[in-house]
């Protein structure tokens, strides 16, 4: 999966790059679960993502909800690219990536 990790004691930033789709969904799930189990805050950046499919949306949604439940700081960092934002809006996911 095309991803860059920035990590220190207090914070992990997962920078997703390129096409984030079903091909890397299993790997993304493992990565999110692993980072949410650590004590640090978790942030995801979509700045370098060119497209995000349904599998990624579901995973990030579930991760955000999981973090809420576990009291882990979770959020999104940086600007979501226009193309990704438009695709999400067209799919009726305007509130993404924050679960209600």
């Amino acid at each position: 999966m095309p991803v860059t990790l920035e990590q220190n004691d207090a914070l992990t930033c997962i920078q997703l790059e390129g096409v984030i789709d079903v091909a890397c969904a299993a790997e993304l799930k493992e990565l999110l679960m692993e980072k949410l189990q650590s004590d640090s805050a978790v942030y995801v950046s979509l700045e370098s993502a060119t497209s995000v499919d349904v599998t990624a949306v579901q995973l990030l949604w579930a991760a955000a909800r999981e973090a809420q439940r576990a009291g882990v700081e979770f959020g999104f960092k940086g600007q979501t690219p226009e193309g990704v934002r438009c695709a999400l809006a067209a799919a009726g996911i305007e509130k993404f990536p924050v679960p209600a």
Partner: protein
Amino acid sequence: MAQPKVPSNAEQFKQSFREEAREILTELESALLELNENPRDTELVSRVFRALHTIKGSGSMFGFEKLASFTHNLETAFDEVRTGRLEISAALIDLTLAALDQIRAMLEEDAAGAPPADPVACAEILEQVRRLAGIDQSGRKEAAHEPAADSAARAGAEVSGPMRDWQIRFAPGPDLLRCGANPLLLLCELGEMGALSVHADMAAIPPLSELDPERCYIAWDLTLRSAANREAIRDVFIFVEDTIAQDEATCVVFGMPKEAIRMNGVSKVLPLGAIAGGILSHCR
């Protein structure tokens, strides 16, 4: 990090689509040659239209976007013939036969060593087909030639008159993503038929630890304002509705059905004669 890998299931479905499309193209070629001899044969026109529609729709679902977009224009032209707004001509048949060669090339483009489709030839074919059938650049019928139709209605859609609001609940099957299909493309296609309002329902997404990453949990509640009729709207979902596979005994080529059954992507396996009833049971 390693490059993303294409899931084997998706690649297998693409390969099955290629095999099935090759068969359809052969059948299409034969139908076109027959049509050249019998230009008023409406059953032949329907065969050609259905074949083009299948190639376009399946191609789009399995990631052959260029192929689907190219075929869309031909499908629109034959929809015009089917609905009596355009006459079959030797020019249209010749153009469609030439287009088949390009579609074959697009189908094999991922294969090592296969020659790509010729972009110049494709552009010339599209230009001439559009001119013959009065289709605009996007593959839609030009409004001047289609006064009864809503200008927002997609090409090829059956249009039944007054504008109305359709409420649609689209809950893809769990295996839709596994076979490489993209539900968002369907929403785009639906959006071409009119004004579409989309709400994603995320309620079924389970806790992260229980989430199957290749399964689709999102459903969509859609409101479509369009003059398109029920059949045209259902056509958009034709490849993702409850999946029926034709059984081996009645298949000429047991390719894609076999693969879909093997991967548990099928809810019913029916002989050819029972498929129409199976489909109708979902429309009541």
